[in-house]
């Protein structure tokens, strides 16, 4: 990037908000899973005006701009594919307003998810979307990926909480979409087009979020099963009983073994699956939900279970789930992670397929995830060897094929980024992709905003 362009940018945002050294720039070349190119410059805008001015320059000089929150994404969304500017939102991190009467919060994109959750709690309110990364992910990143989490079955995903946005289009126009009201149908729903667009259609500079009252209490249940099928039957039966738990996390046998080795929690012998269930609401209804769930568990062959109403005790029950992600690295140093979703009733079919694949290819494949909405995180653990990468590639294709055969999707919440771009046409038809590509071109004629993401290479050029 030429010196005078850098100077122009420095003039807009201030020298103190620009990083130029190689070491510093390098830190912004990867996210939680992908390694990208090293950017030419890292910029920390403080306002939508800054964002707009930088984008105008980018259009003039045709360099890429990559929006970034905390880089906790796992598909490479926030990493440059070919230099340019990484635009980091961590300095735009004010909670501008919490409106208790209307159950609304207005925030800048760099607010950390957990900070918002804690702040609204003080008002007796609740911001439900809870990606496991909530302690470091930003709301901007959550909106751009349409993040979900364990409680999505009951509470929905980020999309369901975004009422309105202020965005800057790739060409520099600042505009507002959406509403501050609970409903509104005024033309096309641009807000929802922007949610989940992975920083490729606009830069998000302010978000109006819907909040809900904080549930009065909750209870946590940890249940062990011999077979996955038993666990799956329980999930269906609980929902058929008209109970909607806030959380229903599932773990397969491979995951349980992995945890028990790293961090023993006393799993009974021969356990083939585990469910972590949480119900919330007012006290009376929590008790009655627990009673009903317990009777379903007993009836459907649970081998052992634990129940608690105590938040500290609950943390212990969560321990296995929280430490699992890290523990997987004890198996092998490299993780290929997938984020497939299948209709709930097809969970056992998918799990058996994974077991079969793991056995056939001779590599550990673990799966755990949000059983309530059928969203599974599949971890293929491999060594840093070419043959393992080949096997992993084969496994991924087969997993996607099976997922799609079961009428599922290849990404429930992590997005496509660069890591899944080559697979997206397994799911989306050429027609659908072509409409998306046209929309991208309409918004970003010079293809400067986060280029190289979502679309397989031939789509945008063609």
């Amino acid at each position: 990037m030429e010196k005078h362009v850098i100077e122009k940018i420095e003039k807009i945002v201030g020298k103190e908000n620009v990083l130029k050294s190689y070491e510093e720039r390098k830190c912004y070349s990867f996210d939680a899973r992908a390694q990208g190119a090293i950017p030419d410059l890292v910029v920390f805008p403080l306002s939508s005006f800054h964002v707009s001015e930088v984008l105008r320059i980018a259009n003039e000089y045709k360099f890429p701009v990559v929006p970034r929150g905390q880089g906790s994404g796992v598909t490479g969304g926030a990493v440059p594919t070919s230099g340019g500017v990484v635009m980091v939102f961590t300095k735009m991190n004010r909670i501008k307003e919490i409106d208790k009467e209307n159950l609304i919060a207005i925030v800048e994109p760099g607010v950390i998810t957990y900070d918002l959750q804690e702040e609204v709690k003080k008002y007796g309110l609740f911001y439900p979307p809870d990606p496991a990364s909530h302690r470091y992910s930003t709301i901007g990143g959550n909106v751009a990926e349409c993040a979900g989490g364990p409680n999505s079955l009951k509470y929905g995903v980020t999309r369901d909480y975004v009422l309105g946005l202020e965005v800057v289009l790739p060409t520099g126009e600042i505009m507002r979409t959406g509403v501050r009201t609970m409903k509104g149908v005024v033309g096309y729903d641009l807000t929802r087009l922007f949610v989940g667009s992975e920083g490729t259609l606009c830069v998000i500079t302010e978000i109006t979020l819907k909040l809900i009252p904080l549930p009065e209490s909750k209870a946590t249940i940890l249940a062990f099963f011999r077979e996955v099928e038993d666990a799956a039957v329980c999930v269906s039966k609980i929902i058929a009983e008209r109970i909607v738990p806030a959380v229903m996390e599932f773990m397969d046998k491979a995951s349980i073994i992995c945890i028990e080795r790293a961090n023993p929690i006393g799993v009974p012998e021969n356990t083939g699956a585990l469910l972590l269930i949480e119900v919330d609401g007012d006290r009376a209804s929590v008790r009655s939900q627990v009673e009903k769930i317990v009777s379903v568990l007993k009836e459907k062959g649970v081998s052992e279970f634990r129940v608690t109403y105590d938040p500290i005790e609950a943390e212990n029950l969560w321990l296995a789930r929280r430490t699992l992600s890290q523990a997987t690295y004890n198996l092998n140093p490299i993780k290929i992670a997938e984020d497939v979703v299948v209709p709930r009733s097809k969970i056992p079919v998918l799990i058996r397929k994974l077991e079969e694949l793991s056995g056939r290819l001779g590599i550990p494949i673990l799966s755990f995830g949000h059983a309530g909405d059928g969203n599974f995180h599949v971890s293929i653990m491999i060594k840093d060897e070419p043959q393992d990468f080949k096997k992993a590639e084969e496994a991924v294709r087969e997993i996607f094929r099976e997922t799609l055969r079961l009428k599922g999707t290849i990404s429930g919440e992590h997005g496509i980024g660069i890591l899944k771009a080559d697979y997206i046409d397994m799911e989306l038809s050429q027609e659908a992709l072509s409409v998306m590509a046209k929309i991208k071109k309409l918004f970003d004629p010079n293809n400067i905003l986060n280029p190289g993401k979502i679309f397989p290479k031939h789509i945008l050029s063609g």
Binding site: M182, G281, D373
Partner: protein, 459 residues
Amino acid sequence: MVKKEVIEELKRIVGDNDVLTSKEALRAYSYDGTTNWIKEPDVVVFPKDSQQISEILKIANKEKIPVTPRGGGTNVSGGSVPWFGGIVLCTTKMNRILKIDKENLTCTVEAGVVLQDLNNALAKEGLFFPPDPQSFLGATIGGIVAENAGGPACVKYGVTKQYVLGLEVVLPTGEIVNLGGRTLKNVAGYDLIHLFISSEGTLGVISKAELKVNPIPPSKKTIIALYDDVAMAGETVYRVLENGVIPGKIELLDNWVINRIEEMMPLGLPKDAEAMLLFECDGIEEAVQKETEKVVEISKKYGAKDVRVAKDADEANRYWTARRAGFAAVFGKAKTVLSEDVTVPRGKIPDLIRRSQEIAKKYGLELVILGHAGDGNLHPSFLTDVENKEHYEKATKAMEEIIYAAVDLGGVLSGEHGIGLEKQKFFSRVTDPKVVNLMKNIKALLDPNGIMNPGKIWE
């Protein structure tokens, strides 16, 4: 005018019986739920599947003939009126429920399925589709999705867009595209589903939908609270929510509506009450019991002079039937009704009511207020008569002031009825021109010849 050869071609596609060109038929398809927008099409066609829709659109696109999709024709913003003539594409013969998946709580339906029919079929499995436009006897899923319809239950359950998992749409150029799928989550590529939801038939024809459904809550209770002041009722609404109770429904009816109800189906409501709130709490029995107690307590605290809890399902049903009859009565009592669909942040409901009352007073008009108060969505209405020019003009002016008052309070001009023809002039005035421009560009991208429902949303 649509050429004779084109009509022949349409007959070839859908069959002779499903192409209407008689004078009476064209008249029947010249209006919708609004009565002040009327325009006859040249031809009405009833396709039976997405393939036929695709062929119809290909011809229309080639010949540049306007196509207006139509479901039940119940919308109240002029959305399905063929403003530039051409073809009305009516989906009522695509009315099959293809699948109800009890285990995954989803269903697959054709666009022409009427909501009531769907709910009857779902009820057999203990399920329901939560968004409940009060026109459920006639409204189709296609129209509901195209308008992003809501209803009383949306306070707790959210509007249509929260229940659409997948769509099959036919683009104006004839391509059949599948969007989304059958799962609760999906982030593969851009969210085109939501671009089609609330697009009012201007981007393409919805041919099939994959919907999320809910189990019918095991227990329900209906509560009515009566007030001497409409604004006090408005305040109760957000106080209830603020106290952590989210009832299944909260509806507001004013004195005018209460009196019409008493005339039609006496429920023993005090005729001097200025307003009534109608609540329904639903869920697990214990929770319903507790919520009901809280609603009663909060209503009293914020000024209700009388609060009743329905003893049984029968009594509850009477109240809800009255609510629907009340809305219908608004339209039945005058030659012309101006009924708006403004939505404000819930804390502003009392302000909106007070401002509307002041405006009505200023113009010497009788105001009727009712609506889905729980989500801040009210339908303030004036009874008037287009032929009484002076009165009609006054009513129109007053309504404009109410709309701007709502926008001023941080609200929007339509919560659920859409823009169609009816609200265009406000839409362009309250919407950022950059945003309108972007929407128009998206429209042009998908519909290069501008054949899909032209004349709607913007002028």
